[in-house]
């Protein structure tokens, strides 16, 4: 009986310790969120969203940074989404389980592990200098697109892998070719998860700073871009500038809170949207 209570006490202590430690992680997240929401909510207004920065970025709004980030997200996804999905399809459906597949997968993993600042260096060297795009939306978008590729490829692969064999066999049995089967049977089933991955990578791309530092981001540029070879401001870089190298840091603090809140809101909304899409589309397929 003594052994029994000792075992129970050890279990009780361990489990409660884990519970407390897990709770503390939740607490950290909420304190970060709460801090930024509380300080930032008063800053956000229609003017803040829709106006140019004024008086050395201590007043006015962040409209050009919002537009810039939207341009970068659109540009990078325009490149990375189709290429990533096609790549995922190729790897999962066409490559046999051999050294080539392992190699390609290793490379995808490697690319996923490359630090974002290295993408920045690479983008600067290739797109800005060698290809002569200069600091521009296209250089930044391509750099961010490459960064997002591994995520999109992996989600595509995973979603395709999770589809039962009998769906494919059913289609083959009706005389459909491989590509027809993929296009009409496999892809529609995999779409909810692929789209979820797509939405999450938008979140990732819109928050990245290091890759755009030297490929597109402008310190201060109070006008909207007119072509893809223009420089733009971007939300994450704007937050960096406001909090570390603004002209008057104390005065721009409020602008920084507002910008941080906008960034958090983007991530929050995209996360919710991703969960919602997954559930909604999966349900629709089942009906």
């Amino acid at each position: 009986m003594k052994g029994r209570t000792k075992k129970r006490v050890a279990e009780l202590i361990a489990f409660n310790l884990f519970r407390i430690m897990s709770a503390s992680i939740v607490l950290v997240l909420f304190s970060i969120l709460a801090f930024i929401v509380v300080r930032g909510i008063g800053v956000i207004s229609w003017d803040f969203i829709s106006k140019m920065p004024e008086e050395g970025m201590t007043k006015g709004g962040i409209w050009p940074a919002i537009v810039g980030t939207m341009c970068l997200v659109a540009g990078s996804m325009l490149f990375a989404f189709p290429v990533g999905v096609l790549s995922g399809i190729y790897i999962n459906e066409f490559v046999k389980d051999n050294w080539f597949k392992r190699f390609v997968k290793l490379m995808t993993n490697n690319l996923a592990g490359v630090p974002s600042i290295v993408f920045g260096l690479f983008g600067m060297s290739l797109f800005v200098n060698t290809l002569g795009f200069g600091d521009s939306i296209i250089a930044g978008s391509l750099t961010l697109g490459l960064l997002a590729l591994p995520v999109i490829i992996r989600t595509t692969e995973e979603s395709l892998k999770s589809i039962d064999k009998y769906h494919r066999e059913g289609s083959y049995a009706l005389g459909a070719t491989k590509i027809q089967t993929i296009r009409r049977v496999v892809l529609p089933l995999a779409m909810p998860n692929i789209i979820t991955g797509f939405i999450l990578s938008i979140g990732r791309v819109s928050g990245e700073t290091a890759p755009i530092l030297f490929t597109v981001a402008a310190y201060f540029l109070p006008k909207l871009p007119s072509s893809m070879f223009d420089q733009v401001m971007a939300l994450p870089y704007h937050l960096y500038v406001l909090s570390t190298s603004g002209t008057d840091m104390e005065a721009s603090r409020n602008m920084a809170y507002g910008t941080a809140l906008v960034l958090i809101l983007i991530v929050l909304i995209l996360n919710l949207l991703a969960n919602f899409t997954r559930r909604f589309l999966n349900k629709k397929i089942k009906q």
């Binding site: 052994g3 029994r4 000792k6 075992k7």
Partner: protein, 248 residues
């Protein structure tokens, strides 16, 4: 004395066991047979409350082991499980040495006397007819053994905590014929000291090793009798169909 009284078990809204009552004879082998999904494995796992681990399981009725209802409030599940050994479908040794696999049960139950542990490990391995094959390699990883040896190791592991009852869930289904016959011989030896419940879908095996056989169908206990009777002269038509192979 082991007995199930009016046992009902539900997975959510699905009833997997329906009003089962049965007295398991001591120091003998009882086989549980029936088509897949009939509830025989689920029934086996009620004796050491393994079903507790599955979310959404609800159990009604009693199981009496040694005059105690194991589903009563305040029962210590760990010490119950110590008294009831279990051997699983596939050999599932831990990623430890052969020695530590057998010693594990004692260690988690608070035995610290290394001499006693060593002695018990040897005895258990002997009982499981594995000692001669492994006595020089006790420090080796259990994964180095063949499938049949691994399964006998798992039996030794169960014996080391000195249970009175052994539950075997298709213990030979993943083994080759030679290993299988070794396990069956072993079961024959073990019933001198233990009460054994064995789930099997192999009827020849049930006929070979068991003294009593229970036939399950769709969650109900259809017939329970001496093995000889079940296989040669069953009372129930369904049992007759099953044992003669005229069954879906």
């Amino acid at each position: 004395m082991i007995e199930a009284k009016n046992l009902n078990l539900y997975y959510g809204s699905f009833q997997a066991l329906k009003d089962i009552s049965m007295k398991v004879p001591e120091k003998s082998v009882t086989a549980l047979i029936g088509p897949s999904g009939c509830g025989k494995s689920t029934f086996l796992r009620t004796f050491n409350r393994m079903n507790d681990l599955i979310a959404g399981v609800k159990i009604e009725g009693d199981i009496i082991v040694d005059d105690m209802n194991i589903y009563a409030k305040g029962v210590d599940v760990d010490s119950l499980r110590k008294r009831i050994g279990m051997v699983f479908q596939k050999p599932n040794p831990f990623a430890k040495s052969i020695y530590e696999n057998v010693a594990y049960g004692m260690r988690v139950n608070g035995v610290n006397d290394e001499k006693l542990i060593k002695q018990t490990v040897e005895e258990s391995l002997k009982q499981a007819a594995l000692w001669d094959e492994v006595k020089d390699n006790l420090k080796k990883s259990a994964y180095a053994l063949s499938g049949g040896q691994q399964q006998r190791l798992c039996i030794a592991r169960a014996l080391a905590v000195e249970p009175t009852i052994l539950l075997m869930d298709e213990p030979a289904s993943a083994l080759d014929p030679i290993s299988t016959s070794k396990i069956e011989e072993l079961i024959h030896e073990l019933k001198k000291n233990y009460t054994i419940l064995i789930v099997t879908h192999n009827m020849q095996q049930a006929a070979r090793v068991s003294d009593h056989t229970a036939f399950f169908y769709m969650g109900s206990l259809i017939e329970f009798n001496e093995t000889k009777t079940i296989f040669t002269n069953p009372e129930n038509q369904q049992t007759q169909n099953y044992v003669t192979g005229r069954f879906g």
